[in-house]
Amino acid sequence: MPHITFKEGLPGIRGPMVFSPETSKPLGDLVQALLAGPHTLTPAEREMIATYVSSQNDCYYCQSCHGSTAAQHLGGSDADYALIARIKQNYEAAPISAKMKALLAIAGKVQRGGKYVTAADIERARQQNATDKEIHDTVLIAAAFCMFNRYVDGLGTWQPTDPEIYREIGQQTSQQGYVGRDYDKRLKAIEATQGKSHD
């Protein structure tokens, strides 16, 4: 049960986002700029970084949502979902680019603590032609998801385990992005259809 009172039926970060619109606006703008804005890394690649960090932080909701969004950006097949699972388990052995492996290594260091990032980690990424912007954004995605993960778990949010819920979230997010989504309106529509609130 959540540590404070949220509207029922809103999974994960959506409970606190609806609870606090004044903070959800800049949080939404931040994640939109990081994961969905114009970039030399694909949305799938940036979602992989968010997913890996969330997995290292053991945040079930965030790794499931962003893992599903990454898989949907790749096409949404079972193989795409299997790739995301392999990245979480051992990205060094996963069939992704050497550049992505170097960026995930940096993200993993940031997850442990910013000071763990070494000049050698940066050099490895540069060897794979990672730009300053890509390194900057990798560090900020990793840092931001440490914040999002702690926000979601620190408030004890409801995190359903049905994979279909995350498949749907991944489909919607990969198509619509993160800004201007009215989670409260969607909840009311569900309640109207079902005649009652979720538990």
């Binding site: 800049p26 931040l30 700029a33 912007k133 390194i135 954004d137």
Partner: protein, 89 residues
């Protein structure tokens, strides 16, 4: 030395903030709401939370920047502050 090329002479988070305006805008907006926006906790109290977490994370820049703001907010509006203003005017 910073891991990426940032403008010289700009401290802490201000370097990456200047490097990446598209992310610094929502980050600043978030900090503004959390630490300075209308709230039942005073700005000093909220800066103390930011300072304590930064200290626990051993982030030198953040704990000093927010610690200084918290200290300023604590004396702001007090008689001490007014007395100081009067003395300096």
């Amino acid at each position: 030395m910073a891991h990426i090329r940032l403008l010289e002479g700009i401290t802490g988070i201000l370097g990456p903030m200047a490097f990446s305006p598209e992310t610094s805008k929502p980050l600043n907006a978030l900090a503004e709401v959390l630490l300075r926006g209308p709230n039942t906790l005073s700005s000093a109290d909220r800066e103390m939370i930011a300072t304590y977490v930064s200290s626990q994370k051993d982030c030198y820049f953040c704990q000093h920047a927010h610690g200084a703001v918290a200290a300023y907010r604590l004396v702001e509006g007090t008689n001490f502050q007014n007395a100081l203003r009067k003395a300096l005017s």
